[in-house]
Subunit: 253 residues, 2 copies
Amino acid sequence: MSEKPLILVTNDDGIHARGLRELVEVMHFFGDVVVISSEVSMSGKSSAITVDQPLRAVEVEKINGVPTFKSNGTPVDSVKLSFNSLLERTPDFVVSGINHGANSSISIIYSGTMGAAIEGSLHGVPSVGFSLDDFSPDADFAKAKIIVAKVFQSVVENGLPPFTCLNVNIPKGKPKGIKVCRQTHGKWVEEFEKRTDPHGREYHWLAGYFKNFEEDSTETDIYALQNNYASVVPVTVDMTCYKTMEVLQNWKF
Amino acid sequence: MSEKPLILVTNDDGIHARGLRELVEVMHFFGDVVVISSEVSMSGKSSAITVDQPLRAVEVEKINGVPTFKSNGTPVDSVKLSFNSLLERTPDFVVSGINHGANSSISIIYSGTMGAAIEGSLHGVPSVGFSLDDFSPDADFAKAKIIVAKVFQSVVENGLPPFTCLNVNIPKGKPKGIKVCRQTHGKWVEEFEKRTDPHGREYHWLAGYFKNFEEDSTETDIYALQNNYASVVPVTVDMTCYKTMEVLQNWKF
């Protein structure tokens, strides 16, 4: 039996995405790899789960020589299936990505890439989501992969606290290094584009731009990216706002 | 022009859910109400957004006499549409629910009900997700509505810090009172049910049970519910694990 760790690789851009292949290539150096992803893009699926439909997962053609499953579920469904029903061995790590486009700041709450990483951490294994700040299909993953290898090597050596995963964003071009950061305080400002279909009915395309509420802070993930550093943000699943808890204790309901 | 605040009511159980009607009824006492929801259930949709399809929203038959929109999007899509494209007035509050079933502990990360409330807080208005710990179609909402009114009254009086919303869970039966809590440390343990369809292909139903990692803690939302109190957990959108940040600062990448 293999003594190498088993690394589950997944993503939210779907099974045909280049970033997935690039991530598999890096993970080869660290252990046995198994891939699960979806036929279609699951971008923006957050931590969504499928409760009203059955899940299917079938083994398909190997990616870079490793066992590969195609699932009809969300990234979180795929992680759950992998840990509970699909695989003979329990994964020792979950890595997700490499996403085409950054998942810094508030994008973490919408990201399927990070949904999968968070779910990995809930299954008790060190988990990391990797994203490259470049949407281009010609994006250069070569330098990003060096960052992926460095961060993952540190995760293998140090482990991660339970129920904590990493959100790693990598700038395009040549990264200057790696910075441990916090999530930038910011939001997406939506500007829907309203159109009319050939039948005269209105529809809306979600669009928008990112607003950074703390341009001057140097310890944020956006600041790191803007200065050509890869950002590493440790992510907790405890969403309690403890400061506000103290305030609410004085409320008279 | 009306001086009453505008309250946006939404949910993840869909436009036909009883909990939505019950919530509208309570909100009538606090201001002008507008409803947006989906035709189908969006249970488990988390903070998912729709990026690859256009969104549609049309005005439909009023619920309890208030303007009501039906959207094809997720709860988060619906909130975004309401703030940015659909309504003439910007909502002053977002309330989501009343969900059929609790969204305590880690369920918050999968919940569409809470996805909508979190999105409301990102739009800068006080936002609350309400859930009743009872899946039964005959669930008694009468007592839950008293809790909803009490909590919302406090929110109106005190406001909420920016980018913070409330996760309110209400026990079935007669609640003893309201407790400010933190999110319980726990997780869902999945047990997929594997079946074979008439064509011989396997499929999996997501099932599972909740595991509480801190049964003895008295300040958690699960403890409150188990002792017949409604739980109020303030929720932040900052998922940075600051304790782990300090640890990572010592890593050599």
